[in-house]
Amino acid sequence: MKHSRGNQPLPVLPAASPARRNSFWKTALQQRWLYLMSIPFIIYVFIFNYLPLWGWTYAFQNYKPHLSFSEQQWVGFEHFVRLFSDDKFYQVLRNTLAMSFLGLIAGFTIPIIFALLLNEVRSSFFKRFVQTVSYLPHFVSWVVVASLVTTILSVDGGVVNDLLMAIGIIDEPINFMGKGSWFWYILTAVDQWKEMGWSAIIYLAAMAGIDPELYEAAKVDGAGRLRTMWNITLPSIRSTIIVLLIMSIGHLTTIGFEKQFLLGNNLTKEYSDVLDLYALNYGIQMGRYSFGTAIGVFNSVVSIILLLVANGVMKRTTKESIM
């Protein structure tokens, strides 16, 4: 840890002084450039991200798009009560959280390990080549990937089953895509296959910022490759990892539905239906804007709670945070 730049004590500019009010304006004047650089964006963010939030009022109305605001019928928490008393909601919530957590665990180990190992590749050409190839699947649509996966895992001549049978692990082909309880794991694995290279880019960029002198020093100390990776590379990208982790935790309930929908089938529905699909099916697609918005509000509230918790925990334990 001692090599990490993130933990170096940061010099703090003089802030607290006896005449507080005066010094506040004095500092503000000193920071006029910073103000100039941020205030336009504060206004921008307010307009584009906060203004539209008046739409949350839909969740408490029986919203009809052609009526004006004053003509809408207000219903209080009716849509939330409906949502929370629906068994299906809890099923899709369970699936969403399960796949999110698996995704979080896999998404924060596999790409990092891959990036660490790739960083150790000596040949610059080979390194670039592997990197370029590994990010290609990110650009292949889920429709294509889902079809490839079903073919590979097919009972009838699928590569995986043929292989397992050939080396004698199984006697009979396994119907991978027909086992509901396996779905979460298959989806997570496929997701990593598709996104590993793409996710690793950010860690590689962080590694590129590491001061080579640190490696030199480690070499002088006689540290091996694995040791260097553990003691220098990993701590140096720590803050990037934590920032990404905090931001991802906030998104646990919003994971989209496309990949689950395309990879799943009617045998796996119990495990593959997720919250976003539920919101689509029971919300806007039925013209139930208010119900759809209620799910959106629920998502936002949960997200922000998760974000604050993650941020707080990280701040306390690692001194890193985004806010």
Binding site: Y50, W54, V130, A208, G209, I210, M323
Partner: protein, 303 residues
Amino acid sequence: MSRVNRRAFSRMSPGEIAFEVFNAIFMLCVVVMTVYPFLNVLALSLNDSLDTVKGGIHIWPRQFTLENYKTIFGYETLIIGARNSVLRTIIGTILSVFCCSMIAYTLSRKDFQLRKFFSVFLALTMYLSAGLIPGYMLIRHLGMINTFWVYIIPGIVSAWNVFIIRSFMDNLPYALQESAKLDGANDFTIYARIILPLCKPVLATVALFVAVGQWNSWFDNYLYNSSKIQLTTLQYELQKILQSTTVSQTAPRGTSVLENMARVSPQSVKMAITIVVTVPILVVYPFLQKYFVKGMTLGAVKA
């Protein structure tokens, strides 16, 4: 790292050699696994569309043809779409990277008075979603419907990118700014002259994310500009062709209606258009790659 590279193999311990071998094999496996889906799309796009139905095509076309590509290049809107896609990608990326990094810089200044407020204010935007209709109404009130700017302006500030850049900046030595400050440089100069050049790896990464995002987005085109053919984008044209099948979600009951829906563009044509739309953005990567494959020599800057 360059000096590390120059170390001769002969001086490596057996453990090191084992590591090298394992690593090389692992990377080869990764290459084989990840290149497959893309090659598969490529092979399908070059295969006769009727023959494609039979399946069993992996990385090599069975009945080679360029017909699928001919079909695609027959769409006149492709040129307009390509122009707009390139424009929005370039303009959008430059503006977004500039703005996000500027915000990130102000937020990385631990002494900045608005730092706390702006961090929270910005972070929450990642999780607050107002829904489609309010968003649409806002754009309408701002008069941005049927304009090119709707591709650029609403997406310029991404909280996610800001925090990524900031976490990188947090790791930069503060001493550099100190000395510049003493030289009388203002905060903008420090940001532009000192911080930005040091952030190349992360800026390249964010630029890649923004560029890919810009290139791949079609929903804003559909939502705000679908009635103006002059503003169409490549990705939207692709979606129009792909969508001819994916109506499954809204499929009504009753067979005679469904018959209409099963009429699809042949799979091979879809794969060809996927290639046409994807390859240009893939080219961007190698250009940016040099910034994060080779390490920056921070030491040099420091001295």
